[in-house]
């Protein structure tokens, strides 16, 4: 199945997919879907663009195959649902909603087309890759996660929103951020953090006001909506993006996702990666500098294994700074959370730590 270039017509794309398969069936072939393999083995790190990209390896999924049959069926089924229920009607639906529509028992058996949401989520991602369309283009939305505050106002579905006047909650970032329009941006940089607790801390301390920045949190995994938003802010707003994470390998990974891309969404890297993003903390040097050694949490086997794995990633391998960080992690045999800064004072982070770092440009690339 070749990737169609018709980004603008998801309906047609899906229809084409269907027609293609039927063609195969009619010619008594074993109908199959080809899609690029989305595993580490097929990820290439493009040094020039500084992004992760999918390689050329492709996998085939065919129907008359004991191992693939169910997946194949799921793929086609979801595709048909997307077309019939969403695209044809113009409605949007959440991942979970799509799951529920898809989930039903095959008559005459006790097998369900999908049993868990994970399965339908994966299929949707597959379809993205197969069709070359984004999830949003397929009218599938994810949960909203994340908030934003700062001197920025934007237009969202016809509403104008001033993110500086949204109290402690901030603007709730929608899952599809492509359609947002920036009206006015009055900030010097963007600070992104995964942890919502830190966001609240900084928000309460009016950090963004005092430092003239935009605060964004994802409250968990960095969704593509947020990544896209960050990218747009970087490109359209011409703002530097700083990432604030825990001082551990997972923080490093979050950073890398924002910067280089993710394995799962390697196909969408162009739209989501921000090669210019910088890592502000917590670094291993911070531990030394700000005397956080007592706050070290011992690493366990899983952590060590992850360090080993991540440090070997192609995009980290040649990064001396990061290698140094990883080495130090192993040396200290511990990790540190952002909240550890609170031992120095509740607002230490907003009054001293961050301003210092920014002033000194104490970043890791």
């Amino acid at each position: 199945m070749k990737k169609t270039q018709t980004k603008n017509n998801p309906k047609l794309t899906l229809e084409q997919l269907g027609k293609n398969l039927v063609q195969q069936v009619k010619s008594m072939k074993n109908p199959e879907i080809t899609l690029p393999i989305r595993a580490l083995s097929n990820i290439e790190y493009n040094k020039k663009t500084g992004t992760l990209q999918l390689g050329s390896k492709e996998g085939k999924r065919s129907f008359f195959n004991l191992g693939h049959a169910k997946k194949f069926l799921q793929t086609v089924e979801v595709a048909s649902i997307l077309k019939k229920e969403l695209l044809d009607t113009g409605k949007h639906e959440h991942l979970r909603g799509v799951f529920y529509i898809t989930k039903r028992t095959i008559p005459g058996t006790n097998i369900n087309i999908v049993d868990e949401q994970v399965e339908s989520d994966k299929v949707i991602e597959d379809l993205e890759v197969i069709t070359g369309l984004s999830r949003e283009q397929l009218h599938v939305s994810a949960n909203k996660m994340g908030s934003m505050v700062g001197n920025v106002s934007l237009i969202d579905s016809g509403d104008t929103i001033d993110c500086s006047k949204l109290g402690r909650g901030g603007y709730s970032i929608p899952s599809i951020t492509d359609e947002l329009q920036f009206k006015k941006i009055n900030a010097k940089f963007v600070l992104y953090m995964e942890k919502a607790a830190i966001f609240e801390r900084l928000n309460e301390d009016k950090f963004w006001q005092k430092n003239g920045c935009i605060l964004i949190t994802s409250q968990g995994q960095t969704t593509r909506g947020i990544r896209r938003l960050l990218q747009r802010l970087a490109e359209e707003g011409n703002l530097p993006i700083y990432v604030l994470c825990d001082g551990d390998v997972y923080g490093a990974y979050i950073y890398s996702v924002v910067k280089y891309g993710s394995i799962a969404l390697a196909h969408a890297s162009e739209r989501l990666t921000i090669p210019s993003v910088k890592y502000i903390g917590i670094t291993m040097d911070d531990i030394v500098k700000y005397d956080l050694k007592k706050q070290l949490i011992k690493l366990d086997e899983k952590d060590l294994a992850r360090i080993k794995q991540v440090s070997q990633y192609e995009w980290f391998k040649d990064n001396k700074e990061w290698q140094k960080q990883f080495k130090m992690m192993k040396e200290f045999n511990g990790k540190v959370e952002i909240q550890a800064l609170a031992t120095k004072g509740v607002s230490f982070i907003s009054e001293i730590y961050l301003p210092q770092k920014i002033k000194n440009k104490d970043f890791i690339d």
Partner: protein
């Protein structure tokens, strides 16, 4: 102020006394298994549930053309002795068999034609006596001694069928030979040289051949020269001169016997010389007949004489004449005294021939039919009979005249001839003779008695009488049972006589007439019966008899499966495999009756042989009585303390006595006892006893005990115990009524009884020092070496000497003089010496086939397998490990596997985690065999595992005997057995379960296709039906590929990962 008294030793001693065993156990109930009410119930149930032809029977055989009547035991024992290397021992030594080494034939009837003739015997058997022996006596007196399960033949609706002795009743008709039967080749001459050659040289060393000059050719002379040493060569000249040759020299010569036909045989220096060839003619037959009735010989074998009364002068002359014609010697006639004449001959040669070749007996008590007579032709036998009857029978004058003119018995004026003899052998031989002549007879016997004659007390010994029927008209042998021959008749007269209630038999003659007149209808095979050689005699009595020998015997006659044997010809079935059933197949009924919430009556009833009256009180109300502790034998039972423990517990908790009923003989009354134990003295007290008629039972025992107990279903319950017992004892038929009144039946799965385990002597590596010392003290052996060899197993002379040497003790030392320290050294040397492992035939495994049968009975699964490991040894004790496994079916696949553990066929229900069997199951990696398993736990799956450890001495972890101890040898065997069983399971799962899964998956496609077609139709806009059709066509093509695709799946899955 109270002064503390110091207690003296004497006062202490006063307070001490021996406590009886009962008292001990009262305080230590847990040792008996009565820890708590629930276990008490279980233990009580456990303890309660847990409690051919004989040697002398004559058999008629034909060996090398000669017919003889031999005792079956003698024949089989002799064959086994002669050919020890060819003996086949089966069933742990309880059965020995040997293929017939030379051609022996038995008289048997052909199943199709029902005619008698001689058929070859293929195998001879003897088996250990393991059941009652019955004497089945028929009308007319014939009898045969058989084991309960040996079979004879009867007639049932025209068919000749076999029936086990056990099922016989008085009045049952048995098949016997009726028509005359005879050898195909009767002898017509006796070559004495041939006969002598077959005798032991020791016997013939005094016999000489005379008139041999014609054979002294140069060849012979040369042979003779080689035989004799130089110093004795002169003897050859003697032979030539005196024209004789010692018989034993003849044995060493290569010569054609026929050339000696004209020579004569003499005994030492005696004058009389007998011809080498004697004609088997009427003269000889009559002569032998007379001898049998009137003749005798001196033990010195130099005189033979015949005694007659003075009124029998005619016979005297007749006989003398015969004698001369046969032996060419003139006998003397002497008048012994006023009333007796004697015909005498002093020829040693004749005596020799009579004794060793004709095989006549010497005295009145040992008289018998000369063996050679059985090989005579019909006519000769007849004459022999007439001659015999002339001497011993009544009316002798008539009989003699019959003999003289060679008449036949029906000519006589009377219908019954009487003759009597004191010799039982002659009695039986005559019966066979009569049978072979097709003559009917009946018998009688008078026991020893005393009578007063002429004022003198006279003792009469046992005497046997035979009544020969002259015409056969009145003989029972000519009758057949009506109900088994005739279906109906149109002849009114006949019908009338048949319908009369008291007529149950019909004669052959009437049947035949009816048949030819076509006015009776008979069952299918009656015609064959009428034309055959068989007849019927009804059973007069069936009694159990005492039999003191070790073995009973049988022969196998292929194709016929029967043979003629018995005291008086009766047809016996060669039913060897039924001899296993000669032991009683057990039936047990268990009932638990609730009286109140915590009080129950346990009733256990079996069909065993019952218990002798005198023993009942001791067995049920005396602890440790009759326990098997001293015997090294695989025995059932937990504590070995027996049922008395249960009686005691019942008595303790409810005060009620144990109630025992026992019947040992189906004809006698049953005994009923109510017993309690006097715990102070450990003696039984009879509270009540009486005898009564227990008509529903042949033999058996019933135990009733009332006790406080708790009934609970579940894993450690009576229900589970009985169910498991039924599994490992597939020959047991068990009926169980539980306290809720439900009746649960465990029918038996096989009639095959388990082998009786052999008792063995202790193995030197398995005993303790204390035991060794006791053995030294108690042994009957006179020397240390013989003590070691005889009182232990596996110690040969060489090993015994080695041990003595090692311990620096004299081989000839007296065992009881061995001192403590020396015994210790001896003990150490014994353990240090390499001694062969003990024999393992003393452990009786259940066997793979029966384990599977047992499992199939109680567990509903789809796959069964079993493994019975070869016996092994731990610490000098032989043991065997067996495993059974059931998989699938109705078993729950999400539960832990169920483990059924057994030690010596007794289920172990408690202490699962402590048991060696559990440990080995847990430490087996079941993942390799297709079951999932968490670390350190039993695997999960629809499986039942049965583990059985049988041993002379099963090692338990504690005195409660619920878990097997972890001996490395036992664990190893368990491991190996589990691996074997696991492999079999894995193979099954692989083949069947995977195949099932694959097929199911392939079926999926059929379900997927409509869905796929529907989705594709939505996507593409094409018609659903068209798509579906194409997909279905494609599926047909792809299916074979799909089913073989399991391997591929694994690879593909990897590449599809994120």
């Amino acid at each position: 102020m109270p002064v503390e008294k110091t207690i003296t030793a004497e006062e202490l001693a006063k307070g001490q006394r021996e406590i009886s065993i009962s008292e001990f156990f009262v305080k230590n109930k847990h040792l008996l298994g009565f820890d708590n009410p629930r276990k008490a119930l279980l233990t009580t149930i456990k303890e309660a549930v847990d409690n051919s032809l004989t040697y002398d029977m004559p058999l008629i055989i034909r060996k090398k053309g000669k017919i003889s009547l031999t005792k079956i035991g003698e024949l089989v024992d002799a064959e086994l002795e002669k050919n020890k290397t060819k003996i086949c021992i089966l069933r742990d030594g309880s059965l020995e068999k040997i293929p017939a080494q030379e051609s022996i034939e038995a008289l048997a009837f052909d199943k199709k034609t029902l005619k008698l003739s001689f058929h070859p015997i293929s195998t001879l058997f003897r088996h250990k006596v393991n059941s009652k022996i019955y004497r089945v006596t028929l009308t007319s007196g014939r009898y045969v001694d058989l084991t309960a399960y040996h079979s004879v033949f009867t007639i049932d609706k025209g068919e000749v069928i076999s029936v086990p002795t056990e099922a016989l009743k008085i009045g049952t008709p048995l098949i016997v030979p009726r028509s005359s039967w005879n050898s195909d080749y009767a002898i017509n001459e006796i070559n004495l040289i041939e006969e002598l050659l077959m005798l032991d040289p020791e016997l013939t060393k005094k016999i000489y051949l005379h008139g041999i000059n014609n054979i002294l050719t140069d060849n012979i002379i040369n042979q003779l020269r080689e035989i004799f040493p130089e110093s004795k060569k002169y003897r050859i000249n003697d032979f030539r001169r005196f024209n004789y040759l010692p018989f034993n020299i003849l044995r060493k010569l290569k010569i054609d016997i026929n050339r000696l036909s004209d020579s004569r045989l003499g005994y030492l220096y005696s004058q009389h010389k007998m011809p080498v060839i004697i004609n088997a003619d009427n003269k000889l037959a009559e002569l032998l007949g007379f001898y049998t009735s009137e003749g005798s010989m001196l033990s010195s074998l130099n005189r033979i004489h015949f005694s007659f009364g003075t009124h029998e002068k005619e016979m005297v002359n007749y006989l003398a004449d015969l004698f001369e014609k046969v032996f060419k010697i003139h006998p003397k006639i002497k008048k012994a005294h006023n009333t007796a004449y004697n015909v005498i001959s002093n020829s040693s040669m004749i005596c020799f021939v009579f004794k060793h070749i004709f095989k006549v007996g010497d005295y009145a008590n040992s008289k018998r039919i000369p063996e050679i007579v059985h090989s005579f032709s019909y006519d000769l036998k007849y004459l022999f009979l007439l001659a015999y009857l002339s001497g011993d029978g009544y009316p002798s004058k008539e009989l003699f005249s019959l003999l003289k003119h060679k008449g036949v018995l029906p000519e006589l004026s009377i219908e019954k001839i009487t003759c009597a003899t004191a010799s039982s052998e002659l009695f039986i031989g005559l019966q066979y003779l009569l049978s072979s002549l097709g003559l009917s007879y009946s018998t009688g016997m008078t026991n020893e008695s005393e009578r007063i004659i002429n004022n003198i007390k006279t003792k009469y010994g046992k005497s046997y009488q035979i009544y020969v029927y002259t015409s056969g008209k009145d003989s029972h042998l000519n009758l057949l049972p009506i109900k088994d021959t005739i279906i109906g008749t149109t002849d009114s007269k006949l019908r009338y006589s048949i319908n009369r209630d008291n007529q149950i038999n019909l004669s052959f003659k009437v049947l035949k007439t009816g048949l030819s007149a076509k006015n009776i209808s008979i069952y299918k095979n009656v015609k064959t019966l009428l034309e055959g050689d068989l007849g019927v005699l009804r059973i007069k009595s069936i009694e159990e008899i005492q039999y003191d020998r070790e073995w009973v015997y049988d022969v196998s006659v292929p194709n016929c499966e029967n043979f003629v044997a018995g005291a008086g010809a009766i047809l016996c079935h060669n039913s060897l495999d039924a001899c296993e059933e000669a032991r009683i197949v057990p039936e047990i009924n268990v009932e638990i009756k609730p009286i109140s919430e915590d009080r129950f009556i346990v009733i256990v009833e079996d069909n065993g042989p019952g218990i002798v009256r005198e023993q009942i009180p001791n067995i049920f109300a005396k602890l440790l009585y009759g326990s098997k502790f001293h015997r090294l034998r695989c025995s059932r039972g937990q504590q070995g303390l027996g049922i008395s423990a249960s009686s005691m517990y019942g008595q303790l908790t409810t005060g009620k006595p144990a109630k025992i009923t026992s019947k040992i003989n189906s004809k006698k009354l049953a005994h009923y006892f109510e017993l309690i134990i006097d715990t102070k003295t450990n003696e039984p007290k009879i509270v009540h006893e009486n005898d009564f008629e227990w008509s529903e039972k042949k033999t058996g025992t019933k135990v009733e005990i009332e006790l406080i107990a708790k009934y609970q279903k579940g894993n450690q319950s009576v229900d589970q115990y009985l169910k498991q017992t039924a599994i490992v004892n597939p020959h047991l038929s068990l009926t169980y009524i539980n306290p809720e009144g439900e009746k649960i039946e465990f029918p038996r799965a096989t009639n095959q009884l388990p082998k009786e385990p052999k008792e063995i002597k202790p193995h030197p590596h398995g005993i303790e020092l204390g035991i060794l010392i006791k053995m030294l003290h108690d042994t009957e052996a006179k020397t240390l070496q013989s003590f070691l060899q005889n009182d232990f197993c596996r110690i040969s002379a060489k090993v015994a000497k080695e041990v003595c040497e090692k311990s620096s003790l004299d081989c000839g030392a007296r065992p009881e003089r061995i001192a403590m320290q020396e015994a210790e050294i001896l003990y150490k040397s014994l353990n240090a010496t390499k001694i062969m492992s003990p024999p393992t035939d003393c452990v009786t495994p259940i066997g793979e086939e029966l384990i599977i049968k047992g499992l199939k009975k109680e567990v509903d699964a789809e796959f069964y397998t079993a493994v019975s490991r070869p016996p092994n040894v731990y610490r000098g004790n032989p043991f065997v490990v067996e495993l059974g496994l059931a998989y699938g079916g109705s078993l729950d696949s999400n539960e832990l596997v169920k483990l059924y553990r057994f030690a010596n066929r007794v289920p172990l229900l408690y202490q699962l985690s402590a048991c060696a069997t559990t440990k080995s199951v847990v430490s087996t990696v079941w993942r390799n065999y297709g079951l999932s398993q968490s670390k350190g736990a039993l695997p999960v799956g629809p499986v039942v595992i049965l583990i059985h450890v049988a041993s002379v001495w099963v090692p338990f972890t504690s005195e409660s005997k619920e878990a097997i101890a972890h001996y490395p040898e036992i664990l190893k065997e368990l491991k190996l057995a589990l691996q074997e069983v696991g492999r079999k399971l894995a193979t099954y799962i692989r083949k069947n379960v995977r195949a099932k899964e694959q097929r199911e998956r392939a079926n999926l496609f059929e379900k997927y296709i409509p869905e796929l077609a529907s989705s594709l139709s939505i996507l593409s806009g094409e018609k659903k039906e068209v798509i579906k059709e194409h997909l279905e066509k494609k599926l047909k093509k792809e299916l074979p590929l799909l089913l073989g695709e399991v391997k591929q799946v694994k690879n593909e899955k990897n590449t599809d990962k994120e």
